[in-house]
Symmetry: C2
Subunit: 195 residues, 2 copies
């Protein structure tokens, strides 16, 4: 998605340890126009996939899911990162490893909001090692839901998550894939089918 790539080049900031900060427009402050275009692009790519529900994980995924849901006109649901005192006990649970914090954390999703009649588009802002995505796929497996695909804003193509998911047969659609980044700037993967 050219608009997203251009925005990353213009406003993304690269830090040591392969950290890319896009918090001026995507996951802290959010540019609603860009966000809407992301939702529109995910719809363009998955409009024929029979999607009945958008799934994401809190927190920054919620903005992406909202924008996607606007275009698909289906409900979205977000997995929670810790067992809330108010969520009840009737939940699917999984575990996600966070490299940022060096620990595993539980994620939960109420059984009421995902089941075997659902066809799910999973969305998130970033895909790197894919651990959060593994957790969400596990929730879908427990629910018996069909996974239409995985829609990502920014994939770090030099980390293994995307390739692992594709090799397992999932349709992974990353609107921008970074093959390399560093002092010389950012190299995006060419994805002609999306242009």
């Amino acid at each position: 998605m050219q608009e997203l790539e251009e925005r990353i080049r213009m406003d993304g900031r690269i830090y040591p340890g392969n950290i890319l900060k896009v918090d001026s427009f995507l996951n802290h402050q959010v540019d609603i126009t860009l966000l809407d275009h992301i939702g529109a692009e995910l719809y363009r790519l998955y409009q024929d996939a029979g999607v009945t529900k958008i799934l994401t994980i809190e927190a920054s995924g919620i903005a992406i899911a909202t924008a996607a849901a606007y275009h698909f006109q289906v409900p979205f649901v977000f997995a929670k990162k810790s067992r809330s005192a108010n969520i009840g006990t009737d939940v699917y649970t999984s575990k996600v490893h966070s490299y940022t914090y060096g620990l595993d954390y539980p994620i939960t999703l109420s059984r009421k909001y995902l089941n075997s009649s659902d066809t799910v588009l999973i969305v998130d802002d970033f895909l790197a090692n894919g651990k959060a995505m593994d957790g969400m796929l596990d929730l879908c497996r427990q629910a018996g839901a069909r996974v239409a695909g995985i829609g990502i804003c920014i994939e770090k193509g030099f980390q293994p998550g995307g390739e692992e998911l594709r090799s397992r047969g999932y349709r992974v659609t990353s609107l921008a894939v970074i093959d390399q980044m560093g002092e010389d700037g950012i190299t995006f993967r060419s994805q002609p089918e999306q242009h």
Copy 2:
């Protein structure tokens, strides 16, 4: 907002301890049509207030902020509930007391995304004791930003947050105010100016 009140009556569930769960349509699974109408109503009420930015706090507030931003066509920003390793050090910080978890937690907001040129509409899904709102108002005070008002989906009118904020002079607009809830159902406060 009649549509929201009707939805709460139909799908909200009441539990001991004045807990109202609306997780089938507002803060776990989200009905995108209702959410869009919430954004439209906040815009109707604040369209002349000169709003330059929507502010909320993760996680469930992000959906409300996205819908509001769609209608205002301004950026939104969400305060984070813990110091992320990736957020940097140039942040406003405050503390919020959680009655649900019985502890204080820090909230942060990058200084880059809120400043004295901003006029802010603060939004959230719930207002009860108002502790999260106090934290967000403290962030606005540190930024020197003007607060146009506070837009809430559901206010628990029998808890002190809303009245305290109004007595401090803030414009608080709660789309549904619950004066009483229990086994007999829910009593909403009449708010003729919003109909």
